[in-house]
């Protein structure tokens, strides 16, 4: 193993597995983020007069200097994300209940997840909570939530400040080292032609880069001390670790181990800077990032995979892998159409399959020229029960959509995924992806009721008093009018949250997001710090709204005498209107390749995409329509009364662009045809779709053969269908199993998941199915809809 002669790949793998087990078993309390906040707050008190960017750099430096550090006996890389995350993410929290979930609108709520211990007293937590409550950021954010509470209480829309959710470009730092970047800053400042603010920002960025060196040296010192008591084998590992830490990330990496060590420390600081809970940072195309370093040593696939296993463990935090939605991508194409799969791509797949960890998410970029070998290698993921399944992207389609929305051609191969499936350009894009969440189904309900909630009776937004017949006859116009009102409010609220967040600058992240060129912070709301900028809007309720419009049309035409009853029936959840309810449910539904509902879905998607894109963010850039609902089709559906499509009150909505569960009852083939009609050219913020796939339809004898069948039977018709004259879909995730199988897993986890891990996908992330709350487990099972899962 060349320069790693002290470590063979089998031993490395064994250590990676022990490291993961140790993380899960021994780190049930996550208080590191609390300590980091406390250190930062202490520092801030003495730096009140400093420029905010410089103050942020100084706080980060204090955290890096003072935070307790350790190196596990199983680690070959130093570094952890543990101190940036709380054990709080709702969906993998056993106490999560749809009924009580209110979104993440209280910036202080995270302090509920700081655990009182001998070291961190209850009083200390309470004191820090009070201090944090008085910060300008929390005050500004609370003001926004207070102003728009009327709309967010029942999730007509929701807004949040977006932390994490970006894709840093660490490649220059890996190659040249942060010291070279710091020298670059000096040179830029010396060259002049900068404003005073830019100079201060750059000085702050330089200071933050220095944190990476400080952190590495602190770890190197620990590795050095540990050598004194280590056995021969471990001592050799620690010597190598110390050597690496004295070199990277200060200087450029010259082999794969150094590159990964460098990357891990940069990532650690990036997350610390935004603690707590900067979810959904993405690595980007890990195969392209690391392949040059693998090649420097000519490492074998097994050797590279073994190192990558340790890299993967780094992304799993605590007992339940709390750092969710961090994304690793592989493969894809360049602008000339050449396939970019490399040896590292396959090593990464090997590492993922062997480790089968809940995080980080794996995504695979596909295109017409994707080699068959890649599909063969993916087969084992799709057809091993309980194994993780990668989400799938279509470069051919997404390149076109991105370029039509202003992405430069040379940047296209660098699109990556922030969070679930939102496409961003690595190192150049602040898209504030989860900034706003639009609940079209709730707005439909308010259109029907004249503005009164069918759930609570509260008056939400403008109140009207039209006759039921008038409402039904003019439903589309009234709905879009109301939608525009709420969109405008939502944009104002979302921009308010972004402005609040700008009070917390991120000089370190900005170094890897274009800040070294622009001299501005990524979060700056007056000067654009990143080459690309936008704000996200996750749009909910496509199938509910489209199917409801169709049902109302049929009612007016076929049963005009009952039209007056519809709104009353929806208000009382069809109680006493059972016959009408059945009739509404039997009306044509999107997802069966029926012209009427499918065309309606297309129209809704087009109009609402345009409406969202017409909204402007704090810099005057467009909001990006993102047709996805990361489990929020469930939580937001809880706040929506019965709808004319026959959906019952509080029932979930359809996921992303998918039909309502149970509504696509003509099989996966016709669902695919319906999906193909949607306007993917307008979905530059992203879109989400899930197929449940019954494994019995894949008949090949080997996983490799089934992988190719999976391409031929599911992916090729959806992504690369020559009979499709529209922009093809560009995202899909699948669960290849059945609801019956999952119920068996729940009933007998010892049999089906002896190691306690059974990986499934929910929205864009994968999770340990056994870790999920019961409500989310049931959501997964319901959406494995037997009538739309077969081919």
């Amino acid at each position: 193993m060349g320069r790693y002669h002290t470590i063979d790949h089998l031993l490395l793998t064994e250590k990676a597995k022990k490291l993961y087990r140790e993380e899960r078993d021994s780190h049930k309390i996550l208080n590191g983020w609390f300590l980091a906040k406390e250190i930062a707050a202490d520092n801030a008190e003495g730096a009140a007069t400093l420029h905010p960017e410089l103050r942020a750099a100084q706080e980060l430096e204090a955290v890096v200097e003072k935070l307790p550090l350790e190196i596990s006996d199983y680690a070959i890389f130093a570094g952890t994300q543990r101190d940036a995350f709380a054990a709080s993410y709702a969906l993998i929290n056993p106490s999560f209940r749809v009924e009580t979930f209110r979104g993440y609108c209280d910036p202080l709520e995270v302090y509920d997840y700081a655990t009182a211990t001998a070291e961190v007293s209850k009083e200390r937590i309470a004191a820090m909570r009070s201090r944090y409550a008085k910060t300008p950021y929390v005050e500004a954010l609370n003001k926004v939530y207070g102003t728009y509470g009327e709309y967010t209480d029942e999730v007509t829309f929701f807004i949040e400040q977006v932390t994490g959710h970006m894709i840093p470009d660490f490649r220059p730092a890996l190659k040249y080292g942060v010291k070279a970047l710091m020298s670059g800053i000096d040179a830029k400042i010396s060259a002049g032609d900068l404003t005073k603010e830019q100079v201060m920002n750059l000085q702050a960025m330089k200071q933050s880069l220095g944190c990476a060196v400080k952190l590495a040296h602190r770890y190197a010192d620990i590795a050095h001390v540990q050598q004194e008591t280590a056995d021969t084998q471990r001592k050799a590992e620690l010597v190598l670790m110390e050597k690496n830490l004295r070199k990277v990330p200060e200087f450029g990496a010259e082999n794969l181990m150094e590159a990964m060590q460098s990357y891990i420390l940069l990532w650690q600081i990036m997350c610390l800077e935004q603690a707590p809970n900067p979810f959904a940072f993405s690595v980007g195309n890990a195969d392209r990032i690391f392949e040059p370093y693998r090649a420097m040593d000519n490492l074998s696939r097994d050797e590279a995979a073994a190192l990558f296993k340790h890299f993967l463990v780094f992304f799993n935090v605590g007992e339940r892998s709390w750092a969710i939605s961090q994304n690793v991508l592989i493969s894809g194409k360049d602008t000339a159409g050449n396939d970019l799969t490399n040896e590292m791509s396959y090593a990464i797949l090997d590492a993922y399959y062997d480790m089968n960890l809940p995080q980080p998410i794996l995504s695979v970029k596909l295109h017409r020229g994707t080699p068959t070998k890649l599909y063969e290698e993916l087969g084992r993921f799709f057809f091993t029960p309980g194994a993780l399944t990668p989400s799938l992207f279509n470069d051919d389609s997404l390149f076109q959509t991105l370029i039509e929305h202003g992405v430069a051609e040379e940047d296209l191969p660098d699109y990556s995924v922030a969070g679930c499936q939102e496409p961003l350009i690595m190192g150049k894009d602040n898209a504030n992806t989860t900034n706003s969440w639009l609940n079209m189904a709730k707005i439909l309900e308010l259109t029907l009721t004249g503005g009164k909630s069918a759930i609570t009776g509260a008056e939400i937004g403008p109140q009207t008093d039209y006759e039921p017949e008038y409402i039904l006859k003019n439903l589309r116009a009234l709905f879009y009018e109301k939608l525009q009102f709420f969109c405008d409010q939502m944009a104002d609220a979302a921009n308010g949250a972004s402005r609040a967040l700008s009070l917390l600058p991120v000089p370190f992240l900005s170094c890897f997001e274009g800040g070294l060129e622009t001299g501005y912070d990524s979060r700056n709301v007056e000067h654009q710090g990143t080459p690309y900028n936008g704000s996200g809007c996750l749009i909910h309720g496509l199938s509910v709204v489209a199917d409801s419009f169709v049902a109302v049309d049929h009612l007016l035409k076929e049963r005009p005498e009952d039209a007056a009853d519809l709104i009353a029936a929806c208000k009382c959840d069809f109680e006493g209107y059972e016959e009408l309810h059945d009739w509404l449910k039997a009306c044509p539904k999107y997802g069966n390749n029926l012209p009427e509902p499918d065309e309606e879905a297309v129209e809704v998607a087009e109009k609402v995409s345009d409406m969202v894109e017409g909204l402007k963010n704090y810099l005057g850039n467009s909001f990006r329509p993102d047709w996805s609902s990361p489990s929020t089709h469930l939580t937001y559906g809880y706040w929506v009364g019965a709808t004319p499509d026959g959906r019952s009150s509080r029932q979930m909505m359809g996921y992303g662009i998918d039909p309502l569960f149970g509504a696509a009852d003509s099989g996966l083939g016709l669902r695919t045809l319906s999906t193909m009609k949607l306007p993917f050219a307008k979905m530059n913020g992203g879109c989400a779709s899930h197929f449940g796939i019954d494994p019995k339809y894949f008949t090949a004898d080997t996983p490799e053969g089934k992988g190719v069948q999976f391409y031929e039977r599911v992916l090729r018709p959806l992504f690369f269908n020559p009979a499709n004259n529209n922009r093809a879909p560009f995202y899909l995730y699948v669960n290849v199993t059945t609801g019956d199988t999952l119920r068996k897993v729940l009933a007998n986890p010892e049999k089906y998941a002896p190691n306690g891990v059974y990986i499934m996908r929910i929205h864009g992330t994968f999770v340990n199915f056994l870790d999920l709350s019961p409500a989310i487990q049931e959501d997964i099972i319901l959406r494995l809809d037997p009538k739309s899962t077969c081919c």
Partner: protein
């Protein structure tokens, strides 16, 4: 063309993954019918042939493992002209075509040139019993089996096996003799479709009476015995 149901199925009504269209309207009234919603000629959803051709062409990539399109019912030949046009256009596109029919149509042979597989039901060997139970005699079905075999048309026969109607040992021998006389052995397959009650709830929903007795159900031993008798006549019995 009026369709009451459509969807994909794998290897059930023809080979491979297939898009199945259930056409509205039937000329028989078999009391065991599992799709009573398809009997009337007045229900269903209208589609132009053009729209169906377009849907099929967009589905082409999903016709894996030798799949294609199957028209079933109801009774396919009740909408003969539209069916002929649709099959002709699909055949010209190189798409595998199949129909499932009761064979009670004078015009059925007109479809042979555009059919890759003909699935035909023969419910009873005796014309009188056939007529008494289903509302029509079987002579046209038998004639069309002869025509299909004479034309070299790939043919798969199906016998709905219903206790008290056609499932006795004597029935098995009589079917065996008839199919031998027709030249079926070696030239067409035979599949037994044992009676099931999947349609029962639909009758209630449609306000129709479900008249099938419990004695119509068969045991696996009875089915096995029946199969062996047919095989003794040189018939190839398949199960899909």
């Amino acid at each position: 063309m009026r369709v009451f149901q459509k969807g994909f199925h794998y290897s059930q009504d023809g080979p491979g993954n297939r898009l199945i269209y259930h056409l509205q309207g039937c000329n028989l009234r078999c009391p065991w019918c599992s799709n009573p919603e398809g009997l009337s000629t007045s229900a269903g959803v209208d589609h132009t042939v053009e729209a169906l051709v377009s849907e099929v062409k967009r589905s082409r990539m999903m016709f894996f493992d030798g799949g294609g399109v199957t028209l079933t019912g109801g009774e396919v030949t009740m909408q003969f002209d539209a069916v002929k046009e649709l099959l002709s256009r699909l055949h010209a596109e190189g798409i595998h075509t199949c129909i499932e029919t009761n064979g009670i149509s004078y015009r059925l042979p007109e479809l042979f040139p555009v059919l890759d597989l003909l699935i035909m039901d023969i419910k009873h060997y005796d014309p009188e019993i056939h007529k008494a139970t289903t509302n029509a005699p079987n002579d046209l079905t038998i004639r069309n089996i002869r025509s299909a075999l004479a034309a070299g048309q790939p043919l798969a026969l199906r016998i709905p096996l219903v206790g008290g109607f056609n499932a006795s040992e004597t029935d098995a021998h009589n079917f065996g003799k008839l199919l031998c006389d027709l030249g079926v052995p070696g030239n067409a397959t035979v599949e037994l479709l044992p009676y099931h009650e999947y349609g029962r709830s639909k009758y209630h929903m449609l306000g129709m009476e479900y008249t099938m007795p419990d004695t119509a159900k068969l045991t696996s031993d009875q089915i096995c015995f029946y199969t062996k008798i047919l095989e003794s006549y040189g018939l190839t019995i398949i199960k899909t």
